[in-house]
Symmetry: C3
Subunit: 344 residues, 3 copies
């Protein structure tokens, strides 16, 4: 596919300095771009790459426009990273529009009774949709995905191949669930009895808002009695575990390998670095940012950035410091004793 | 579905104080319960909610019975949480009993040669059962699940959709494996040779006892030579990694994202908080409890609770303390020097 | 299956001391071996087991050969662990050779248009291969696996059941991908805009070299613009997350639950213990070894072993030391003040 710079600016705005009929056939990173490709400068720290990139057009902010223009076309915009995001979506939409329409419902798919399918729904090979499921306009179900009975998916939501979307779970519009994600497995609930565990059937569901993205092999368990809740605009990366009864507020984002234990309530506009762990039955307020690999063991209500990671070190140094750490409390007492002696 | 309080007590015991014909149509949490619903008080700290809940019936201990009875029906029992667990199971069994029987073996399922299927076995759409597998009475295989050749599943065990149950692996009775779990992938075994890794074929299997629950996308690798062993009553949450040759003792429970490295031997009656990590070739005794996100680097034989997590803090404070941590060993030496000077 | 010791030595080398016609029917661990089985001694620390093992033959180094020979046959080799690795592969190859050939392409598999299949390719039940995919000689696709359009798999590469191998992704020869792995899901890329996240379409692919093993439920995301790169001989265990634009150098190995954030560049010959976490946009040089559960927060270029784990302790001790840790920076200041007073 190839598009003119004029087409891009017409669709996405921005000020074009250069020839509208310059043809672009790929969006590229600064380092790998070749003639005929478009790239962008998201941060001032990439300024040094302006001279060397071979991109035919650069998306830049006003303050870098003159410099960038000396070497070729530019599109000037307030937020080049956002412009790039929108360019990728526009690009993919054009790519898809130029293709033959996919089979709407693959003959190998298994569709249950009383399923409500909008005529525009696409269902891939080997997918299984159980009785009573409701799939709205433009829903796409990937190959071998499974939609449980009475589940509902809002307009434009897409399940990739091999997604599990459990019985009676609900998801809003424009969502995207990646391969292997499991929505609506049982929460981990057992009552202890005489040294054994008695299973508690999980009777709630999972309720997911609009514009939610869920990564590959991520799990969101159904609630014990009420629903697990994922609000609008939440973004979850791969291999995340969301336990039963959790609530995640709107537009919160979590990087890969995060775990959230049961009944935690997380506010909106939060971010979680990779492998952050959130213990159960606690509350995290709005606009709290947890660094990667940090463990939240009690509620955090005040907005801010929080961290808790043992600093990595050469193994020998780490061993010494880690061993001493076990005596830290004693060291403090010894320090105190000295202080008393010297400043009595 | 709706049941009378009298039916509940007749099935599950407990002392009913209230009308036996009071109809209940949902089990609910204290906060969300409405009239016609039943809830429970598992801990004294929820006592404050007795006055405000709208539940028609509360399951309580003797000491809260009088207070709870002032607002409606109560079921008095020694362990309300256990009662709730059993109520959920009885409830779900009744729900299922009232439904049309599911197709026993879906026509799209692929069944190999010499498979032994009890007549009561149910197999979902698109599932694949390889040659020589043995499925006992009441076994249920979910949609798109895969049972490898010569695998055996005991009576009443259920695989959810898209479970992988590998060749020659064995699981006992009344088990439940959630979607996406992978039982019997190859253990991670390689011999180093001239800077490369030579694969070691994994010749063992996975042997799982009775009453074991395995969470979504959890992996249990087959043993290198002998079997990986999961004893009776073990409960594993989602996204857990159990490496080859591991042994997990009876009734041990692990929360989500736990990892257990190769050849670790874990006792019975243990608990592991979420994301706890257990290194390989070590031993954990019975009744050892590992806190969430803690890392076990050597054997622990003494029962008790063990923890090891860097405390989370505001980022600025963490940075200062983490940086100082790298000097901890030196700080101890400096403290010692001072002590010698002052107490010579 | 049963083989003579002479057959083993003829195929794999080593010096046999014992009868060539001694029949072996299983490879076993030292502890579980019985007569008619072969085992190996990989480390001197297992020397104490020589007397008690019932194995009919032991694979040993020269220095243990005399001792081992006193109790039965031995195969003497420079690296018994490597010999064992090769023995397992030779063993499995013989096992497979003795079996009936599997159906080449299962009738329930769904094969798209313009797919290039070498005549030797095997495709399991319910697998889906999309348009334009290229499968070279000896490729095996497991049951219910999905190969996206224009994906390419090199000679001898095997996908286990239910693997996702995404559109336009490429993998070299002799690779092995375990069940549930997801190659080529979208990278986690969003541009912030007015408190929400705008999705960035991920236009790159995943490019994987030869002799790569990928564990169960592991995820490797496609690049944002360029490809995510996994070089020759890389070994990845289960439940690993490799984010977009990551590069992993040749013969690097990662244990289970490792996470690598976006755009990290990792050298060759590195090892990562289980649950190690690598933050994004950093560089790790060749021959760097990261201990289990350690977090890499900035580039490490110098070869060596690096660690960073809070030492686990009995809960009470941990609580005291962890609480004091939050004052560590202050403790250092207090120590300094004392030092100044005493050594002015």
């Amino acid at each position: 596919m190839s598009v003119g710079l004029g087409d891009i600016v017409q669709a996405l705005g921005g000020e074009l300095r250069g020839q509208a009929d310059c043809e672009i056939h790929r969006i590229a990173s600064l380092e790998s771009a070749r003639p005929g490709e478009i790239s962008f400068i998201a941060h001032a720290r990439f300024r040094t790459l302006i001279a060397s990139t071979q991109a035919s057009c650069l998306i830049v902010r006003e303050d870098l426009a003159d410099e960038a223009e000396q070497r070729g076309a530019v599109i000037v915009t307030r937020d080049p990273y956002l412009y790039y995001a929108r360019l990728t979506r526009w690009w993919v939409a054009r790519l898809r529009a130029g293709r033959e329409p996919l089979a709407l419902i693959h003959p190998s798919a298994v569709i249950g009774a009383a399923v409500q399918l909008h005529p525009s729904v696409r269902i891939g090979a080997g997918a299984v949709v159980d009785d009573g499921a409701v799939l709205a306009e433009g829903v796409q179900i990937g190959a071998q995905a499974h939609v449980g009975e009475f589940a509902t998916l809002g307009a434009g939501t897409r399940l990739a191949a091999r997604v599990e979307f459990g019985a009676a779970c609900r998801m809003g519009e424009r969502g995207l669930v990646h391969t292997g994600a499991v929505i609506g497995a049982d929460g981990f609930g057992f009552a202890p009895f005489e040294g054994r565990w008695e299973r508690i059937e999980q009777l709630g569901g999972v309720c997911i808002g609009n514009d939610v993205d869920i990564g590959a092999n991520t799990c969101i368990d159904r609630g014990a009695l009420d629903d697990t809740l994922i609000e609008d605009g939440v973004k979850l990366d791969n291999l995340i575990q969301i336990a039963h009864n959790v609530r995640i507020g709107a537009h919160t984002a979590m990087a890969g390998c995060v775990g959230v234990a049961g009944s935690a309530r997380i506010g909106s506009g939060c971010t979680f670095g990779g492998a952050a762990m959130i213990l159960g039955h606690l509350e995290i307020g709005d606009h709290v940012h947890i660094s990667a690999a940090s463990v939240v063991m009690s509620s955090i209500l005040k907005p801010g950035q929080y961290s808790g990671v043992f600093p990595i070190d050469e193994n020998g140094s780490w061993e010494k410091n880690a061993a001493t750490l076990r005596q830290l409390h004693t060291l403090r007492s010894r320090l105190r004793a000295l202080e008393k002696k010297i400043n009595p």
